[in-house]
């Protein structure tokens, strides 16, 4: 396992990556939607996102809308590649070639 694979091997980070992978290319979701969807606290999600952002797997964009802070999340193309590679690894294990 390389560093990226180890990073997303953690269950919560894997769910974050998978949830963002559902979006079409160019789409972004609100931080609060993802927190609600994955039943995570804001602090917990924020901490995992910081690690994923640092590894350039997830893009975090912040903006003010009507003077209120809003955070948009999306998967980077590198993040998508890492996730697909990880899924291929899992499939290899299931097929008994791991």
């Amino acid at each position: 396992m390389n560093d990226d694979t180890l990073l997303i091997h953690q269950p919560t980070r894997l769910k974050i990556m998978a949830a963002l992978a559902a979006l079409e290319d160019g789409a972004k979701v609100d931080f609060m939607l993802l927190a609600d969807e994955l039943e995570l606290t804001k602090g917990n999600l924020g901490a995992h996102l910081a690690k994923l952002e640092e590894a350039r797997l997830v893009k975090v964009e912040k903006a003010f809308v009507n003077r209120k802070p809003k955070t948009w999340l999306s998967l980077t193309s590198r993040g998508r590649e890492v996730l697909l590679g990880y899924i291929r690894e899992l499939e290899r294990v299931v097929r008994g070639k791991g």
Binding site: L14, K15, A22, E91
Partner: protein, 187 residues
């Protein structure tokens, strides 16, 4: 990692992907409900008013574009939960373009007969959903084909009641698709 752990992780990934896809796709249902109301009102009016219905259609189209713009702003704009990719915005523009095309063609060809107006709008709507399905959900393509079939059957079987047939079949189809989106549950 053993096979059992790998299978569990694959299941977790599928559940997370499905959860987000369901959540962000659910809002699309409101667009179909709005379309159901405008579609049914328009074609029932066409059946009822006859030649004068073309003016009602221009008004309904303006209302429809306005309602869709408000819904898009509410759900998919910077205030909403999701920012749609460029392809989503382009599809929205396609529908606006198709509406302008219908209005221009209707006016330039001087279409006033309820049957002609019905054929123009219903067939263009079918084409629009077919095109939308080619870059989005295949369900949109099925809806497009359904609209074409309903129009054809109405035209051949009961031409004098064509607007009413299209109003009911299309209205029910939009309603069903809209409700199916809104009632989507996570797997």
């Amino acid at each position: 990692m053993n096979e059992r752990d790998a299978l569990k992780e694959i299941a977790d990934i599928k559940a997370a992907v499905q959860g987000t896809a369901t959540r962000v796709g659910r809002h699309a249902g409101w667009f179909f409900l709005a379309a159901a109301v405008i579609w049914t009102a328009g074609f029932v009016t066409t059946q009822w008013l006859g030649n004068d219905s073309r003016f009602v259609w221009i008004g309904l189209n303006v209302i429809g574009i306005g309602v869709c713009a408000l819904l898009a702003r509410r759900f998919f704009g910077k205030r909403g939960e999701q920012i749609v990719p460029a392809v989503g915005r382009r599809m929205g523009l396609w529908f606006v373009g198709a509406t302008i095309f219908d209005v221009m063609l209707g006016l330039l060809l001087g279409l006033t007969a309820p049957e002609d107006i019905t054929l123009l709008i219903a067939l263009t709507a079918g084409l629009s959903f077919f095109v939308a399905g080619s870059v989005g959900s295949y369900k949109a393509q099925l809806l497009g084909v359904f609209l074409w079939c309903a129009t054809l059957v109405g035209r051949l079987a009961v031409p004098s009641y064509l607007p009413l047939v299209v109003a009911l079949s299309g209205g029910v189809a939009f309603l069903a698709v809209g409700i199916s989106f809104l009632l989507r549950r996570e797997a």
